[in-house]
């Protein structure tokens, strides 16, 4: 099925845009904005609003139509979690039944990132939005190392604690600092040997599973993720790995 944006008719391709240009407001600026939108590949463009932000900037709202579309059937995408997440109690029961020991999860905001909101939401006892964090899970030993943990330190602590999974939160993504930082972390974890037996999971408002997998992580979780989603992924993936490992041993 070939799809295009739907405004008020199927496949009309209607798109709403807003942006600013570094020029003073006026007829010429409006025309420049319109031409810019056409250059982006849109077929029709109406500048419906233009307002000066200062004597050197103008804000525009535009409506335009695109000829572009995608074949929905051919879109490939894998969710970190393909099935519904387990509840906290189910996760605990799963760990008891499958691993017969507590799992160790180490979390941190690494590199420069000082924003602990994300890692706290997943790990803190209280959790977030009525979803308890991993510290509350009886079968999980959760260690939240906090903010601005150097990658070296995180790898070292994960090794000492014999972590089954490492959670990394990255909130600051300006200028792609997170990509550099995450790449560095994976390199360190591989050099250390940690990577081979420990799950590496990254989360943050601008993080998706696709990016995380590309960077060499096991999964990436974006906004709207709760502790049980991450916990479900961890227990199922660890079980899957163990099964694959024991098969290899046979």
């Amino acid at each position: 099925m070939f799809i295009k944006p739907y405004g008020d008719t199927l496949n009309d391709g209607a798109v709403q845009l807003s942006f600013s240009l570094p020029v003073a407001c006026g007829g010429k600026a409006r025309e420049a904005a319109r031409q810019l939108v056409l250059k982006m590949g849109f077929a029709h463009c109406e500048i419906v609003h233009a307002h000066p932000l200062s004597d050197e900037f103008t804000f525009f709202v535009a409506y335009a139509k695109t000829a572009a579309g995608v074949d929905f059937e051919r879109v490939e995408y894998v969710e970190a979690l393909e099935e519904k997440s387990l509840s906290m109690d189910e996760v605990n029961a799963f760990i008891k039944a499958e691993f017969k020991r507590k799992l160790v999860v180490v979390g941190a905001c690494t590199g420069f990132d000082a924003h602990t909101v994300g890692i706290d939401a997943i790990m803190n006892m209280k959790g977030y939005n009525h979803h308890f964090g991993l510290e509350r899970y009886p079968m999980i030993e959760a260690f939240n190392l906090g903010a601005q943990v150097p990658n070296e330190k995180l790898v070292e602590r994960a090794r000492e604690l014999e972590a089954d999974a490492v959670l990394i939160s990255q909130v600051v993504t300006q200028k792609d600092t997170h990509v550099q930082n995450l790449t560095r972390l994976i390199e360190l974890a591989e050099a250390d040997g940690l990577r081979s037996h420990c799950l590496m999971i990254v989360g943050g408002p601008r993080i998706g599973n696709k990016l995380a997998r590309e960077l060499g992580f096991d999964a990436g979780f974006g906004s709207g993720t709760y502790a049980e989603d991450v916990a479900t992924f961890i227990v199922k993936k660890l079980k899957e790995r163990r099964t694959a490992g024991s098969r290899r041993k046979q």
Partner: protein, 519 residues
């Protein structure tokens, strides 16, 4: 502002007594200690500035060279070096940056040192007085264009010159206050970088030169718009007192300064933070700079319905620590935030109750009201609606410093047009309901009144508990923001020194005289 909530005056007074009881033992700790940051701030206020080839600031070089003598106060060494070398502060700074070893300079007799220090303090005093006079004159001249609440926006490009363009645009659109957000991680640096900077992540380095550049740009817009545009930066972190010193010198108008924020949210050691916040607040007070406290942050980790009383309790504590630092109420921008889950039925009424309560309990304080952040999502259109509700609550309850919500809060640091949309939103809402607060009262015994009374009661209970435990222990047990911080944990403890018998700090002495602080 007319009282509308029927709050018990006796309970409010009791809460203030509890806060005084909480601050007492901490005040004793503060009195007996100095920190490397206090000493560096002192040196800066006496004229130390600049950095060596590796970027190590001169105040840090001095403190490192004299590390074992911090408890005696380092001002006497700097002043002795000025006298012995016959140099001006600028000349001595240049020499120090080139490697001149201050530890080798023998101390001069205290009489000569004190006389020279008095001269430097007089220069400091006249610079700060001139800054205050300039601000007051501008505020008076442009008073007809002042807004209530004042609209506050942030810029955060990482490049001070880019920040200037965005700040200018925001001021032209109607912003009254511009805050330059600091680069991620600056709060954990134990030094203040030097010079103009063009690289930062999620913000721009707070440096004295960056302060100066932005101040000059905003002064220009202030004149063209006939509206005094206030400049804000952050005292929080390991360099609280130093940044306060730089802000005082460069005529910043507001500074974020919370007595416990660094401990709870940046894992800075509590013994360090309490000493640093006191010294930084004395400097803020002497420079007539409004502080912004950080209670809003509690609600990013805790639930705004369940933990509303922790915000009020912290406001009482921040008020007390500010009073102890000689600060008048008109400079205490106590913080709170509009952070309730938007799906809660009548959540807006609870927000109104909290904001009105803060206004009534802290009538002379320029309250700082923070916008929704926690429940903002990528749905920018819903975000705009939430910000409109926030704007309404702020105007309806007479808040003072209104941090504009950005519709892209959950996505990125604000784009140019995000500020414009936020300012337009606020101007529309606040103008169309300008006299709403005077027209409306709350139903006796209704939801809003009951909620405010309940929050005050809970806050009083928490303050009593904190007083019983002692503040250090209460923080260690996680009574604030549900964050537990061990007393000897966190960063910066090694920079705390007990004051030796002969401790001498001419800037501190002057601040205490000027602010009429006993002891």
């Amino acid at each position: 502002m007319r009282a509308k909530l029927g709050l018990s005056k006796a309970k409010i007074a009791q809460a203030r007594r509890r806060a005084a009881g909480i601050a007492g033992p901490v005040r004793e700790h503060i009195r007996r200690h100095t920190t490397v940051a206090v000493e560096r701030a002192t040196l800066r206020l006496l004229g130390a500035d600049g950095a060596d080839r590796d970027g190590v600031p001169v105040p840090n070089r001095v403190v490192e060279a004299l590390r074992g003598r911090v408890g005696e106060g380092l001002a006497k060494h700097y002043v002795s070096a000025l006298l012995r070398e016959g140099k001006s502060p600028a000349e001595l700074n240049a020499a120090l940056a080139e490697g001149f070893d201050i530890a080798q300079v023998p101390l001069l007799d205290q009489g000569r040192v004190a006389a020279k220090a008095a001269e430097l303090v007089r220069e400091l005093e006249s610079r700060l007085r001139a800054n205050v006079a300039h601000r007051d004159a501008q505020l008076k001249e442009f008073s007809s264009n002042a807004k209530s609440p004042m609209l506050y926006v942030i810029v955060a490009t990482g490049n001070i010159h880019e920040d200037v363009k965005q700040a200018r645009a925001a001021a032209l659109q109607g912003a009254d206050i511009v805050a330059v957000i600091r680069t991620t991680a600056q709060s954990l640096l134990d030094y203040v970088p030097y010079g103009a900077t063009t690289e930062g992540f999620g913000g721009t380095y707070a440096t004295q030169e960056n302060f100066r550049i932005m101040r000059a740009a905003l002064d220009e817009v202030s004149r063209s718009q006939r509206r005094y545009i206030r400049l804000v930066n952050y005292c929080s972190g390991l360099c609280m007192p130093e940044i306060a010193a730089m802000g005082a010198l460069e005529r910043l108008d507001m500074m974020l300064n919370d007595s416990m924020y660094g401990i709870l949210f940046r894992d800075i050691n509590m013994y360090r933070t309490f000493v640093d916040q006191n010294f930084s607040r004395m400097i803020n007070a002497a420079a007539d700079i409004i502080i912004n406290t950080g209670e809003d942050n509690y609600l990013t980790t805790s639930d705004a319905v369940e933990k509303a009383h922790t915000v009020l309790a912290s406001q009482f504590i921040n008020e007390r620590f500010a009073l102890d630092a000689g600060m008048p109420a008109r400079l205490m921008g106590l913080g709170h935030a509009f952070e309730m889950d938007p799906s809660i039925k009548n959540g807006f009424l609870l927000e109104l109750a909290q904001a009105q309560m803060a206004r009534e309990i802290f009538p002379e304080h320029p309250l700082k009201y923070m916008p929704p952040t926690k429940f903002m999502t990528g749905d920018v259109f819903k975000g705009l609606a939430m910000n409109a509700m926030f704007n309404f609550a702020s105007k309806a309850t007479g808040q003072s410093i209104h941090l504009l919500g950005m519709l892209t809060e959950a996505i990125h640091t604000p784009h140019l047009q995000d500020r414009y949309l936020a300012i337009q939103n606020a101007l529309y809402v606040m103008n169309s309901m300008a006299d709403f607060a005077d027209e409306v009262e709350f139903r006796r015994g209704g939801l809003i009144m009951r909620r405010a009374q309940q929050v005050l009661d809970e806050s009083l209970a928490l303050l009593s508990e904190v007083e019983r435990l002692g503040l250090f222990e209460a923080i260690a047990r996680g009574l604030f923001a549900e964050v537990k911080r061990p007393k000897d944990g966190g960063k910066g403890l090694d920079g705390v020194c007990e004051k030796a018998l002969g401790y001498w700090n001419p800037v501190e002495d002057w601040l205490k005289r000027r602010l009429k602080i006993a002891g």
